[in-house]
Symmetry: C2
Subunit: 452 residues, 2 copies
């Protein structure tokens, strides 16, 4: 029975490492899944991790290196002897090898590229050219390709030749004499075919494919939409150059979604809760400083109305309610919209309809929340005119929230800027300023007109 790694397992390894029981450790590791060994590394301090890493086989070390977080990987890479590093990288699939080599200093990267298998080295160097977040950057060069005139039997033979260093073979790709992709064949179908049938007669001849420059977000969307297990990648002359497998895409999907929400909250996508305080501080303070700037703008608006507040302190009590509810409503709109934009459910043509809808929802929510706010004003001792005032200001600010919550992400998208990254701060700036301006401005008018 497969057992999951628990804290007790990690403690056991810590004890064994402390006692330098290398043989017991090696024996224990042999029965574990690489990703479970990765989990153990999570629980070790740097010194223990380096000790442990030395005891692993090259295969296991290569998988662990890919499994641990970036910070620990850096530590482990630094601790490796050059020859051992070459051995470990040689065990990796081309895409993983390229990822690791791209993290090395130039000289060390060159040394590893010279040390590993020549064919692998050429593949890896080709992959290093592509930006990390494109199909080219995500693909691996290990794949099974056969000409269309080959038979099913020859297809199986080709799988046999390639299968040693490859995981997750679910499809074979069919190419013409120039290497251009002409079809895809699931191996479940290959297995059921007569050995002498031609591959071109049983393949899917209209395969879903991408060019190397396609963004990883688009790649993920194709996997989802068509329930793919692997996706062929072609160059601009349609020549098959790699494949992307579903397990890599799962990570991309997760990364992309978290990135959106991290951006909305002003967090660097690399941050993890277990990072040391200094690192978290470095990543979070800049965003807070930017926010402080927008808070300054909002406070300036309040400053303008100091005189009004002096006449009626109740305004100071109630004004954060108007601003805050606008922020909440704006965040709701952004969150739903960012999701739709990320999933490609919206086109720019829909912009006008979305804006109108969000303004409508803002107005209707304003009616409801405005009444609630008037009740709160009454409970806090304000008179009926202040109640009317907060009711009107709330409607105005929730309309502002709906409009800016929809307009700003759409505008950023149209400008080809990530809508998540700055929408949150723009929208809350709008709702803070809008809230104070509507509420205090209206109050000033009410006072001048003698209602208050």
């Amino acid at each position: 029975m497969h057992t999951e790694i628990k804290k007790t397992h990690i403690d056991e390894f810590k004890d064994l490492l402390g006692a330098r029981e290398t043989e017991s450790i090696k024996k224990l590791v042999k029965d574990l899944h690489a990703s479970d060994v990765g989990r153990i590394f999570q629980g070790l301090d740097d010194k223990e991790a380096m000790e442990f890493f030395k005891l692993l086989t090259s295969v296991m070390a290569s998988e662990v290196l890919l499994d641990v977080d970036e910070r620990q990987r850096q530590k482990l890479l630094d601790s490796l002897q050059p020859e051992r590093l070459i051995e470990v990288v040689d065990e990796m699939e081309s895409d993983d090898a390229a990822d690791i080599i791209s993290e090395l200093p130039a000289e060390e990267a060159r040394h590893v590229l010279d040390g590993i298998d020549v064919k692998d080295s050429i593949d890896v160097q080709r992959l290093l050219v592509y930006p990390e977040d494109t199909a080219g950057g995500k693909m691996q060069t290990e794949l099974v390709a056969v000409p269309g005139h080959a038979t099913a039997e020859q297809g199986i033979e080709e799988i046999r030749k390639k299968s040693a260093g490859m995981e997750n073979i679910t499809n074979i790709f069919v190419v013409d004499t120039r290497g251009r992709l002409i079809g895809v064949l699931p191996i479940a179908r290959l297995i059921l075919s007569s050995p002498t049938v031609r591959i071109s007669d049983i393949m899917d001849s209209d395969p879903i494919k991408v060019t190397t420059d396609v963004d990883q977000e688009e790649v993920a969307r194709l996997f989802e939409r068509y329930d793919l297990l692997s996706l062929p990648v072609v160059d601009d002359r349609d020549v098959l150059v790699g494949r992307i497998t579903v397990d890599d895409v799962v990570d991309v999907i997760e990364e992309e979604i978290y990135e959106d929400f991290y951006h909305m909250a002003g967090i660097n996508k690399e941050e993890r809760i277990t990072d040391p305080p200094a690192r978290s501080l470095k990543m979070r303070a800049p965003w807070l400083i930017i926010n402080l700037g927008t808070a300054f703008l909002a406070a300036s608006v309040v400053k303008i109305f100091s005189g009004t507040i002096e006449q009626l302190v109740m305004l100071a009590v109630l004004m954060p309610i108007v601003a805050g509810m606008g922020g909440n409503a704006g965040t709701q709109t952004i969150t739903v919209l960012v999701r739709s934009l990320a999933l490609g459910e919206l086109e720019m043509k829909d912009a006008r309809r979305i804006l109108l809808k969000e303004v409508t929802v803002g107005f209707l929510n304003g009616l409801i929340i405005g009444v609630g706010a008037a009740v709160i004003a009454y409970l806090l001792g304000a008179g009926p005119v202040v109640g009317l005032l907060i009711f009107l200001a709330m409607i105005a600010n929730l309309v502002i929230a709906g409009f800016s919550g929809a307009f700003i992400p759409l505008l950023l998208k149209w400008l080809k800027v990530d809508p998540a990254i700055s929408a949150g701060i723009f929208v809350t700036t709008c709702t803070d300023i809008g809230g104070f301006l509507c509420f205090l401005g209206l109050a000033t008018i009410f006072i001048r007109m003698g209602f208050l």
Copy 2:
């Protein structure tokens, strides 16, 4: 070349539907991927969608029904004749059929269950028992299982028998005489084996598996951690009852992450940006009303200090800065923490360390942002004592933000409540009240002591 559906394609279909060109439509649809036909439905109004749906084959209709959003699915289901509904459901895999049937009114569900293939009906009824968000609710009963003593050739024969109604066969499962799971065999390995070799000699005998009651979030985590393509599901006696495939898990991963962030922003997970205003209103207003309640609490705190504000209106200008920055910092902490909790990177044992770290980050951020806030106070015309006041209050409130941002999600997790769903509102309540209390309370003390 596979082409993606664009707005122009949808318009073309709208025109053809308007002109009742049923033959042209049928011809066009035949060359499309089911999921692309689903995209076309997204662009149609309800009447067009029902017209179009009638023209689809049962196979295509079954796939489209699973692809469209919940609201449209309901419309299409309502429009179907009972006999046609049976045909369409009969084309589905067991898990999808169960999902659809569970959305039908009881009588209609019974009618469909009586109408479809008897064996399918038994499978579907068995699946209907499991909660939707568990392994049992996500699994399908279609799978290839063989006894360990079978040969590779017999394994292939078994795949042949089952393959007609099944997609994504990547593994075969190996069972003992009582149906208990004893191993898993990737078909890529089966294909390369000698026909006479015993399955039990080439299978992986320590398979990763789950019981039917395991939560879908845990299922998704196993797929990610071990790069699985399919996962066997067993009952409490270890008998193989189903499998979950990676394409279903991709949806779960996405759903779970968006759910967390929707919860944080106070959005119902079913909401989409394209929903009509009335539906969005119904989903968003309750959350805003709850928020209004917490805004009332914060305003009450300000009310207590009305006298203090009356003496120095500058306090009203600056107080939203202290409260707002606390909210921003608290949201940063929650976002990073919710991610870690969702990915299972944290255990409750780490709680004390995380709390200490977040309080430290809060304090250090407080020093930086506090200085910035003092500068802003100066720019807005406040004196040096008010500058000191906002500096101290900011440090206090960012410590509150760090503490509550970490403590509340951890507490909710410990109470087995979804930490995302209510953490946001609790934390901003803490930082609003904390901000006003620290700033205005300290100001009151300063005034009493004659500093202000």
